[in-house]
């Protein structure tokens, strides 16, 4: 089949199936045949830019679902979904105090699937806070922070803080009563810092009260700065999982 000289008879279904999974086209994309034997399974993971985040082999005990509960993966997957829906929302949302609220209303009523995208983004944001927190609990209670994984635990704590900040900066954007006053409460808390409280409050608001400066500041943090910083720490987090001896194993 793969040689390109088709016989006289038309190929059977099995031959076509085999050509699809082991033929020249498949191999030109993935380099190796379909991963149905051990060698190709290992090579497929090792040589694929997306899959090589993983080691090509993993300890049996470390990947039990009742051990990890998939929480790290779910957090990452939620982050990806938030990125995709967030980009779609950015097509319609303008961070201006005169337009923001109307844009959200348009998303809900005029834009095709706009309501669905906003809902996924909103519930996904809550979901990510929960899964990241639970992931931290799982890692703690299984003792997976212990040496040599100390630093990755620290990175994880940073990621938790970044997740909270991402969620909170997005909270202001709909520019309704709920977001306005939630952010008022939140920034007042920050402004209560000893000694530098007033400066922190001004830094958070970009002004003495919540207004256009605040909105553009939080929008920029929400769609660019924080996602980039989070991605940076996320890469370190994934990388260190492998560098620090792979996923921890139960006895």
């Amino acid at each position: 089949m793969a040689s390109g000289t088709l016989g006289q008879r038309p190929p059977t279904g099995a031959q076509v199936w085999d050509w699809l999974r082991n033929g020249r086209v498949f191999k030109s994309i993935f380099r190796y045949s379909y991963p149905s034997d051990r060698r190709n399974r290992i090579m497929t993971v090792a040589k694929n830019v997306f899959l090589h985040l993983h080691p090509s082999q993993v300890p049996r005990g470390g990947i039990r679902v009742t051990y990890t509960w998939c929480l790290g993966g779910l957090s990452f997957m939620t982050f990806l979904m938030l990125t995709v829906t967030g980009v779609l929302l950015m097509f319609y949302y303008v961070p201006s105090v005169t337009r923001a609220y109307q844009d959200i209303q348009d998303l809900e009523t005029v834009v095709t699937f706009g309501m669905l995208m906003r809902n996924i983004h909103r519930w996904g944001a809550h979901m990510m806070v929960i899964t990241v927190f639970l992931h931290m609990c799982r890692v703690f209670y299984t003792g997976s922070y212990k040496p040599p994984r100390e630093f990755n635990w620290v990175v994880g704590v940073i990621l938790l803080v970044l997740t909270l900040l991402l969620s909170f900066t997005g909270y202001l954007l709909p520019w309704d009563q709920l977001s306005f006053w939630a952010v008022t409460v939140g920034t007042t808390i920050g402004g209560a810092a000893p000694i530098i409280g007033k400066q922190i409050n001004f830094l958070l608001l970009g002004d003495f009260e919540i207004g256009q400066n605040t909105l553009i500041r939080w929008y920029t943090l929400h769609v660019i700065a924080l996602p980039l910083i989070l991605s940076l720490f996320l890469s370190v987090h994934f990388w260190r999982v492998r560098q620090d001896g792979g996923i921890s194993q139960p006895m």
Partner: protein, 368 residues
């Protein structure tokens, strides 16, 4: 063949549980001169493959009784007991074949696997300079490590893929039926009652009701973050990695801390709500009616002292278990988790207008 030569590390060997079928079952252990019977743990000398009792090996200085080859026993979780995976027989030294060859027979598979990614990741498997024997040993050691390993495809990728699909379906279904809230256009001149932060900050907002805002909103969260980051630098044992709660004692500590924190958090919230700690102290000591003095004493010092007392009390209530460092970590981390969730819950579901406590089913509507 001494392990100290040229800085070559002693080999790592794994514990092998003996079964009736084991090749070494019934052979004599050269240390204690007794037979190795089924059910006992054995190790094989990495050079001459002579079987020894595992305990004899360690009590005789981790060397072979016949040729004095040093080797340390790998104390790795799930390693010895795990059956061979994907049809790989135990510890068969096999020559490495060129990667271009056709699909590998099962015997050669683990060695190949080891040759590609594992060898790079495991420092102990470094081939020693010039030592044919030691590189063969490193190869065997790497092969043994590969035993309990599953290929990532499909053993890890499939659960990941499925959980991702379930997440997408679940989130989409929820988003289809439940709409995100959108209230009136923001109005700086009209404050809704109550005004609440997002739910994940309501624990901080709850603390705000009971103490100085700087303490509740800035100092305590900062301390929590720093303490969280410090955990692995205080609890530096790693022999119990991967065990939920590090065993039965840790689980007991978890439950004690859960109940303790739950009761104390509720007690303190209710006490402050219905007794009014600040008012009581100010009435008892009239000089504290000066507001800046009251801020320091009733809003900062008293809450700090109470939190310290509750924290010390937590230690006292687990002291009878003779807790390890890890147990103490479990106690305090659990206290944080329970308190954090409980306070967020109280803030979300139990605080009504003017942040007064209500039963959730009795909650008056929010005055928007």
């Amino acid at each position: 063949m001494s392990g100290s030569e040229a800085g070559v590390k002693p080999a790592l060997i794994s514990v092998r549980p003996t079964t009736a079928e084991s090749k070494w079952a019934g052979k004599e252990c050269p240390h204690c001169k007794k037979d190795i019977s089924a059910g006992e743990n054995a190790v094989l000398c990495p050079k001459c493959y002579t079987p020894h009792h595992k305990d004899c090996w360690t009590t005789h200085g981790n060397v072979c009784a016949l040729d004095q080859t040093p080797a340390n026993i790998m104390e790795r979780a799930g390693r010895a007991a795990a059956p061979a995976v994907d049809g790989a027989p135990v510890g068969t030294p096999a020559p490495v074949k060129p990667a271009a060859e056709a699909p590998a027979p099962p015997k050669a598979a683990p060695v190949k696997a080891a040759a590609v990614p594992v060898a790079a990741a495991v420092p102990a498997a470094k081939p020693a300079a010039g030592g044919g024997a030691s590189s063969a040993r490193a190869m065997r050691s790497a092969a043994r490590r590969a035993q309990a390993q599953l290929t990532t495809w499909p053993h890890l990728l499939m659960p990941e893929f499925l959980s991702a699909v379930l997440l997408m379906i679940g989130l989409t279904v929820m988003a289809w039926f439940v709409n995100a809230p959108l209230e009136e256009h923001s109005n700086p001149n009209h404050t809704p009652n109550p005004s609440k932060a997002p739910w994940y900050f309501l624990n901080l907002q709850e603390l705000l009701l009971h103490m100085h805002p700087g303490l509740a909103g800035v100092v305590i969260p900062t301390i929590i973050i720093v303490l969280l980051m410090a955990i692995p630098y205080v609890d530096i044992t790693s022999d119990d990695t991967g065990v939920w709660f590090s065993g039965a004692q840790g689980k007991k500590v978890f439950w004690i801390s859960t109940v303790y924190t739950f009761l104390w958090a509720w007690a303190l919230i209710l006490a402050d709500e219905f007794v009014g700690v600040r008012a009581v102290i100010e009435n008892a000591i009239p000089v504290l009616k000066i507001s800046w003095l009251s801020e320091i004493v009733t809003q900062t010092m008293v809450p700090t002292a109470i939190m310290w007392a509750v924290a010390v009390g937590l230690y006292i209530s687990i002291a009878h278990l003779k807790p390890t460092v890890r147990d103490v970590m479990i106690a305090y981390f659990t206290a944080f988790v329970i308190a954090w969730i409980l306070l967020a819950l109280v803030g979300s579901a139990f605080r009504g207008p003017a942040m007064v406590l209500y039963w959730p089913w009795n909650m008056p509507p929010r005055i928007a």
